[in-house]
Amino acid sequence: MAMAVGGSGGAKADINVTPLIDVLLVLLIIFMVITPLTPHGLNTLVPQPPPPNQPPPPPNQDPNVVIEVAKDTSMQINGQPIKEAELQSRLEDVFKTRATKVVFVKGDPDVDYRYVARAIDDAKGAGLDKVGLMTPKVEAGQ
C-alpha cells in the first residue's frame, strides 16, 4: 500500500459553494412562484326579501335589466337574444342613459357556472357595480 502524497496543484481547502447556490436559487424561484396570490373576485348582491308588513315599493321608472343564461348557454337581455361577445357593449349602451347601474343575472340551474360567471364578468366590464343574482327563491319572493 502506498499513499498518494502531493499531486498536481495544491489541495484546495475552499468549500465548493456552487451546489449550495444552485439549491438556494431554486428555493427562491419556488417561493416566488407559490407566493400566495391575492384572490380576485366579482362582487355580487343577493336581493333580500322585503321586510314584512310593508307596502310593496312603487314601480320603478326604468324596468330592470335581466341577463338570462339559458340551458344551451345562449344569453338574453330582457328577452332579447344576444351573443356573448356583444354582451358587454350592449350593456354599455343600455346603461349609458340610466342613473342606476343595476343589473340582474339569472341562470338556468343546469348550465355550467362559468357561463353565468362570464355574464357577471361582462356586466362588471360594462361598469355596472351592482349585479344581483336572481335565484329561484328570490323570484318566488321568499
Binding site: 362582487n43 355580487t44 348582491l45 357556472y113 364578468d121 366590464g125
Partner: protein
C-alpha cells in the same frame, strides 16, 4: 524517491448530495402546496374584470367552495358540509365576524349553476346580501373563450 501513481483526479462535481436535497425539497413542497389554498380544490372561472379581494384570505372569512360534482366545503374549518346544515353553520360564523360580512364563493367553472344557486338561497336565509365570487384573473381578452 519514487511514488506510485495517484488515481486520476475526478473533476466532476459530486451531484448526489444536491439531488438528495432537491428531492427532499420537492417532497416538502408537494406536501405543503395543497395546504396553502383555502377550501377545496376547484378550477376557478377565468374572468377579465375581477377586483382584488384581500379579505377573502383573512382567517375568519367565510369561504364556501362548490366542487364540480356539487359538493360544498366550508372554511374556516375546511370541511365538507351538507346543504341543509350550511345556513345554520354560516349564521354562527357570521355572528363571530366583525365589520365586513361578505361571504365568498369559490365555485368550480364546470359546476352546475343550480348547485351554486342552492348555496346562495341558503345564504339568503341568513341575511347575507353581498357575495364575492372568487375567480381567476386573465389579462388576455381572447384567451378566456378558448380555455376553461
Amino acid at each position: 524517491m519514487k511514488l506510485p501513481k495517484a488515481p486520476p483526479v475526478v473533476s466532476d462535481i459530486n451531484v448526489t448530495p444536491m439531488v438528495d436535497v432537491m428531492l427532499v425539497l420537492l417532497i416538502i413542497f408537494m406536501v405543503i402546496t395543497p395546504m396553502l389554498t383555502k377550501g377545496a380544490q376547484v378550477n376557478l372561472v377565468k374572468t377579465r374584470n375581477p377586483i382584488k379581494m384581500q379579505d377573502a384570505d383573512k382567517e375568519d372569512a367565510v369561504l364556501i367552495s362548490v366542487t364540480r360534482d356539487g359538493k360544498i366545503w366550508l372554511s374556516p374549518g375546511n370541511a365538507m358540509i351538507g346543504l341543509d346544515k350550511l345556513a345554520s353553520r354560516v349564521k354562527d360564523l357570521q355572528t363571530a365576524r366583525t365589520g365586513d360580512k361578505t361571504v365568498y364563493i369559490r365555485a368550480d367553472a364546470r359546476a352546475r349553476y343550480g348547485s351554486v344557486e342552492d348555496v346562495i338561497d341558503q345564504l339568503r336565509t341568513d341575511g347575507v346580501d353581498t357575495l364575492g365570487l372568487i375567480t381567476e384573473e386573465v389579462q388576455d381578452r381572447n384567451r378566456r373563450g378558448l380555455s376553461l
